[in-house]
Symmetry: D3
Subunit: 160 residues, 6 copies
């Protein structure tokens, strides 16, 4: 661990960290999250998953679009060129599990893009179910794995 | 509870629900969430909370700005005129608790705006701590209370 | 017909027309357009219209979101509070017909929002079919009807 | 032609296609479209084309800016670094012909950026003439030519 | 004068001030600024002010569009419904004087929207002249007058 | 000096200049500006610079975010990948001096990004002080230095 936060300078001021000297390399990040609701609501989401049912598709599309908006939302993120994004939704029991995978060839990692895709897909599910379950909860938004860059591969430890 | 999702029509197609007939009324929504990290990282965030320390301020500002971007992010949300937004951060122990309060005088509620403020403040904290704690988790993003509109006041049930 | 364009002043300079004096009233606009491609491609779009097939949903969602972005795209459009948006897609033969309906209670009409929804839904279809039909064409993007405001109802004349 | 749409996976879910493995190369795309209105309106647009007349300039600028917004509008488009954009408008008879040329050095083509520039320039013209010709139509939005990338040059076939 | 800044609370945290209790009233704000460059450059801008010369039009359009983007740029500004925007440019001697007038019927004033229009029109002029005069300066961006709201009319004092 | 503006073609039409043929190189730009207000207001800004005081942090964050939005605001700017942004604020006497430093490795310079960061940080300060000093002025928004690219280093001449 470093001795301080990289996103603030010695005097405490926020900054976008200078990555000019880093090499562009292929990088991937996977993030996940889960919307906890009721079995009844998950059934509605799946039923809408039938022909022309757009509920899950809307959340997938929102997540993909949000990955691209990350630098507009997270103040100190670098704008980078994403080369691939997928958002998978698994609706089972009383929850919808969200997995986003983001790829780039650039100077910084894409874990924030993956986390943003998960969070906004989750918010979109929140929006669609809120009339029937205002108490739904978006939980466990976190990075599972990232590859590429000088740091190489990082995998989430079992105990966190 | 209705018999289906309001955001998809009988044929399953996504839509922005028609609220033309609803009256503009004063509405408030409160949402919360929590970033779970380590006590060491929380100490860094607080130290940066000293004079000129921008870490928490950056997350607060990001949350407020994100509330305004909600209709750009959540596909079926109505664009509405927010009349007040606050984002409070409480950094203690190994976590940062996030509370967003959003107000409007409009035809629909602002729970999505409050949830979006919480989620993006949380993502911004994620971004700032990720170099020292890549395993941080954004948890429990949920509505606590909403007032106004035909439905009146809703408070989160204890058991959810 | 007036004697000049409302969007430029006497000296020719572009401006956002002052509507401060107009009353907010309920208004609706319907616009349509058509993506012309091949029967084979329409078959692919429909097949993807089967369970979990997101092709048409993606275009619907893109159209709805674009309606909200209209003032960001069309320089002299007023930012207004949309109260409802639907985008319908009918894929038949060698084409997809797009219909957008937009509602508001505001000081100006929403035909530009309806046209923008149609255009961006059409561009999204273009994007999805371009690998199999780069020669697809978006045609006939036009207003069909608008209601509300001082001008009342306008319906497209048969001969245009 | 492939056997399916590239933008949806085997299960039908929308995705941003992974182009990480593709080489950045210089690419160009040209798209066109036409706003059909009346000779009288075209005369007004041209008159406003006199000194300080901003009507056509506003549409040109809107088209150029829209090319840059393409990934915000078209859900599955990659964000890419545009290296040049021009939008030409030819107002003659009862129509305005729109031509957009977009260049990049990146991993994917720029036909969507060129089509978006044409569509938004067309919508902006729609906006400026709608008070005098609500029946105007944006027609024939299509790709004329693209160069670069593995596929090389594609020119629109005469019969489409 | 109050005893502190309205945009931070008693504890110093940034917030979007709650205006829910204020009445919507018609409001106007006028802001100005000036780009100082050389007589030679002003001549170029004016020459480009001839038929089809888009230099000044581009700055006008950029200013109008920026007024609409104010809440996306200035973190604690309320999103409000603008009912009219004009941007005037007067190119004379070695400078271009910029004047923006913004109108609304809403709960807060529009001086930030007028200032933003001036600043972005000025930045756009900067951009257009920077190849020939990299030393140009945007000066004196300030509010001249505002009307409406509880405070009534404010006019800039002569000595500031 | 060239014989005309690079951003308009021979016929006067606005365009995004083609930089496809230029090499990506490391580039830096530094821009400055100053908000002139009163000593009393500067004291308030600094007092809010105490623990948890977000006033200056809000302006810093707004400036950094605005640098990333430059191509959305300035019509003919290329979208480029920023690799570092800092915004420094020095509040002394009756003014706040703003300095923005922007870095990239791309085909065009970043002086517009640095100027935009300064202007929006200044607008944000304007917003925060306007209730106590509506007569504040943003002055002297200008480029101080730029490095990189074919032109090499440019430093502002003493007499401008």
């Amino acid at each position: 661990m470093g001795e301080g936060l990289t996103h603030v300078d010695a005097g405490g001021a926020a900054r976008m960290v200078d990555v000019t000297g880093k090499e562009p390399t292929a990088r991937t990040a996977v993030a996940t999250g889960v919307l906890r609701t009721t079995a009844e609501v998950v059934e509605l989401l799946r039923r809408d998953g039938l022909p022309k049912g757009d509920a899950l598709a809307t959340a997938r599309v929102a997540g993909i679009m949000a990955a691209k908006r990350t630098p507009d939302l997270v103040p100190l993120c670098h704008p980078i060129a994403l080369s691939g994004v997928t958002v998978d939704l698994a609706a089972e029991g009383a929850e919808v599990r969200i997995t986003a995978t983001v790829r780039t060839t650039d100077r910084t990692g894409v874990e924030m893009e993956a986390l943003t895709a998960v969070a906004v897909a989750g918010l979109t599910l929140h929006d669609m179910v809120k009339a029937v379950d205002p108490a739904a909860v978006l939980d466990a938004v976190r990075v599972e794995r990232k590859d590429g860059g000088k740091a190489g591969t990082w995998t989430r430890p079992q105990d966190r």
